[in-house]
Amino acid sequence: MATVIVNGKEIEIGDDERLNGIQVARRAGVDVPHYCWHPGLSVVASCRMCLVETGRRDPATGEISMMPKVVPGCQTPATDNTVFVTDSDKVKAARAMVEEDLLIRHPIDCPICDKAGECALQDYHFKHGREERRADLKPFTSRRRPMGDTVTLFVDRCVMCTRCVRFTREITGTAELMVINRGSHEEIDIFPGYPLDNKMSGNVVDLCPVGALGDKDFLYSQRVWFMKSHDGVCAGCSTGCSIKIEENQDRIYRLKPRENRHVNQWWMCDEGRYGFKYVHNAERQIQPTVFTAEGATAVEWPEAQSHLHNLLKNSPKLAVVVSPFLTVEEAFMLCKLAKQADPDSILALGPVPQSGQDESFANGFTIRAEKCPNRRGVEKVIGHFAGQTTSFEDFVANTDCSSLDAVWVTGGYPQDWMTTDQATKLSAAGQLIVQDIFTSPAWEVASVRLPGVAFAEREGSYVNASDRLQSFEWAIRPPAGAMMEGRLYWNLLGEMGMYDAQRIRQMVAREIAFFAPAAGEIPAEGVDLRINQFAQTNSEVTA
């Protein structure tokens, strides 16, 4: 163990930990302001906001000798007996100087800046800046220019931390952004004709500590202090990035990546970031409907539930298609329902959408070709109940639906997910129950239509492609008329009270060995389900 002293407080760090001054101060509960340093990017130590005093303690005598000058915390490694002082007058003066310098040419247009409220320049100025402005200069020119289809640059707001430049060089490797000019005329720019158009471009907006890089999608749509942030998991592909869903009054305004070293580091792809729009699509289905010989009847949910209850009771032969968009808990309850109604019921995995190839970036961030969040989880649940997993295609091809009393199909796909032929085959069953968010060929021929919910409206757990289970709560309420699948199954199972995904997850963890590590509290970065899998399915783990 190495001991580091931060502001007189001793901090123990592991021998193999390589921390810098900022990180070690954070452990001591001290926030060192910084702009250019980012844990996912190289260190340039150019903003000079993280200036601290440092020194060494003599391990024998305990005597501390300090360096005469300030040093950047981001560049100073914390080793045994390193001393950091972050609250001396010298440090305060240095921070005030940097903050004052950065504001000399800054337009201070916070009232019309999207970043206001979550801006490092603003926050640090309130905390570390000077009260009065001594530079009575005409500061700015208010120029704005596009960097690409997703990002726009407000030139004068930039503090030249170069995080965005380093991101495009080190993470995506596309290097679209660069610094032009010199000295106080420096600007971020692109090479003419080569816009910022990589698949991760939106991240530069998150990286920007000030309001210089604006997200064209989010620009001027909402003040950040009006939005509430909810931890969620992206449903765009089977990477399952940890995200923050930011909404106001049940409308999502933007998604942001949430740090998770095991899944997405600090990033997310543009596809996921801007892919939430379907949640607010006006085409969303919101009317539960029951079709009988007399025709269509629009029903309320209690009626729909009793109808389903009777229907399941009177369906000795049943098949269920479990969508990979359902959570583990929902899949578990649906399979349980099916097995209660018909112990020999057929359980099939819903279609798994594929698009292109897996694409990996530096640090191991991957955009997967599998465009659904929970294939692994649903597969394991079905495997538990049915012994083996049947794919949707096999199910449709090999099953004579006319021999079945009922088929229950779950959807939730943002894109088209089945063909008219498949729907026709399914409709041969006595009853076709379809739970989906948009119309589909199956929805058209269904005898019971149940509007479901989209990803931000769900609650439960997803298992990503590398068997990491992440739990999340709903961020927004579904449109009136749609009901979370989990709530419906909960009610049909006769459970009392409000739908409690956590209770179901604990039940799943008890019943299915694969999910055993998920029995306790799920931390923000999720749980690796492979932890105790080696004894059972070694071959699967290595594959």
């Binding site: 340039v44 150019s46 310098d101 950065l102 106080s184």
Partner: protein
């Protein structure tokens, strides 16, 4: 003084001094041939015992720098010759490269041999096309004569020298900025450590030395370390960090003197001696108001500080940054120090690379304030702000990555400190109504109700 024989400038006035033939006629390349059979460590030991300190500005002991290279490094080691001579007032490298390029090349070859380098880059500033031609011709002659290339003179040692022209940026004179520039990147100085001796050009160990430094190496090998140590100022025994100032130095004298030029003299000459003995005194019978001791970034010596010895330790004792490039610029008593500082601030605001916030913003802020003072809208409080900028930027307070921002700070600091009265007088004279205004933001009067 009388017994001193110039060595670095000995041949520059000979006709065709830049050709190999003429150079060899004066004993050139003898050391190179001799060195090729010597042990590398012996060469380094000779340079070390001569106490040669870098001539580029910082005065770091050259032999010591060479020993920082990793021992038994398997891959390539690079040598960068810093010929990006862009400090205002400095032109000694230019004279060496234009008039006696073989002297520089021989020094470079010996230094490369000593540091086990087989590739050397000459980082030449863009503004020296004459040097470029002379150096390239000299290199071609050396290849033709077998002094460069593979297996030189059958010694088994190979050396290639390339000229890399910069694109005219002051920052490329900073050694890690130079390295980035050679790599084809924006010349933003790197954070240290690692120092170039461990990780430099293309992430390989690298030595960066000044043109005049390697020229001195040649003469040390010619004449021995004792000859070199017979000149200059010995180390101050009371200061363990003082390495002494030995050897000849090229002083560039410019500004308001009768005979400006590049003069060679042993280190330790005082500013007065340089101006009086070499420069023929201040021009037009005027008196000296200020002297820049070694390039504009070193600050200013006042009229009562002319006895400052121009060695590595001297200017520091008079509040200047150091000896720098020993380029003395003389300012006469009819020149406004406000104009001087404005010109200096304009240079540094233009040349700040813009990487570190304090230098990028501080230099341009200082320029804007000086613009305003010159325009007759200065206020006395601006002087305090200027002094504060001068005190807070640079690696000495620790607020920037490279030392060039100290160079930007020192003229401001010295000028305000040593000539404050003149600034105050100027501001009061040009802004008689507003010089005492203290409120930074103009106050708009509202109608009383």
């Amino acid at each position: 003084m009388a017994e001193f024989e110039p060595v670095l400038l000995a041949n520059i006035n000979r006709p065709n001094s830049f050709t190999r033939k003429e150079y060899e006629a004066t004993g050139g390349y003898q050391s190179w041939k001799k060195v090729l059979s010597m042990d590398r460590n012996d060469v380094i030991d000779i340079v070390k015992s001569s106490n040669l300190r870098g001539r580029g500005g910082a005065g770091f002991p050259t032999g010591l720098k060479w020993t920082f290279l990793p021992k038994d490094h398997p891959g390539p080691i690079y040598f960068c010759l810093n010929a990006d001579e862009s400090e205002p007032g400095t032109f000694n490298n230019r004279i060496l490269m234009e008039q006696d390029p073989h002297q520089v090349l021989e020094g470079l070859m010996i230094s490369s041999y000593a540091t086990r380098t087989s590739t050397a880059y000459i980082y030449l500033r863009y503004e020296y096309p004459g040097c470029n031609k002379r150096l390239q011709d000299a290199i071609d002659e050396c290849y033709a004569a077998g002094y460069l290339g593979d297996n030189i003179q059958g010694s088994g040692y190979s050396l290639n020298i390339y000229i890399h022209q910069g694109a005219a940026a002051y920052i490329c004179g900073e050694e890690t900025g130079l390295i980035e520039s050679i790599e084809g990147k924006r010349a933003w100085p790197r954070i240290k450590p690692p120092f170039p001796a461990i990780e430099g050009v293309f992430r390989k160990p690298t030595v960066v030395n000044n043109v005049e430094t390697v020229a001195c190496v040649k003469h040390i090998l010619d004449r021995g370390a004792d000859w070199f140590k017979s000149m200059g100022v010995p180390a101050d025994p009371n200061n363990p960090r003082d390495a002494g100032s030995y050897g000849p130095k090229l002083y560039c004298l410019s500004g308001h003197v009768e005979k400006p030029g590049c003069y060679e003299a042993p280190l330790g000459l005082t500013a007065r001696q340089l101006i009086e003995d070499f420069g023929g005194g201040c021009w037009k019978g005027r008196s000296v108001k200020a002297v820049i001791p070694g390039g504009i970034s070193m600050g200013l010596l006042g009229p009562d500080e002319l006895d400052c010895p121009l060695d590595f330790a001297g200017p520091g004792k008079y509040g200047c940054l150091g000896l720098g490039t020993a380029a003395a610029v003389v300012i006469d008593d009819q020149t406004s120090i406000v104009d001087f500082l404005h010109n200096s601030a304009r240079f540094f605001a233009h040349e700040s690379c813009g990487q570190c916030t304090p230098c990028r913003e501080g230099t341009s802020w200082a320029l804007k304030m000086l613009n305003r003072i010159k325009a007759g809208r200065g206020r006395l409080k601006d002087l305090d702000l200027l002094a504060e900028i001068g005190d807070t930027i640079g690696i000495i307070p620790g607020t920037t990555i490279c030392g060039l921002s100290d160079g930007a700070a020192w003229p401001i600091k010295n000028a305000i400190k040593k000539f404050r009265g003149e600034f105050e007088h100027y501001i009061k004279r040009t802004n008689p109504d507003g010089y005492m205004v203290t409120d930074p933001v103009p106050v708009f009067e509202t109608t009383a109700h």
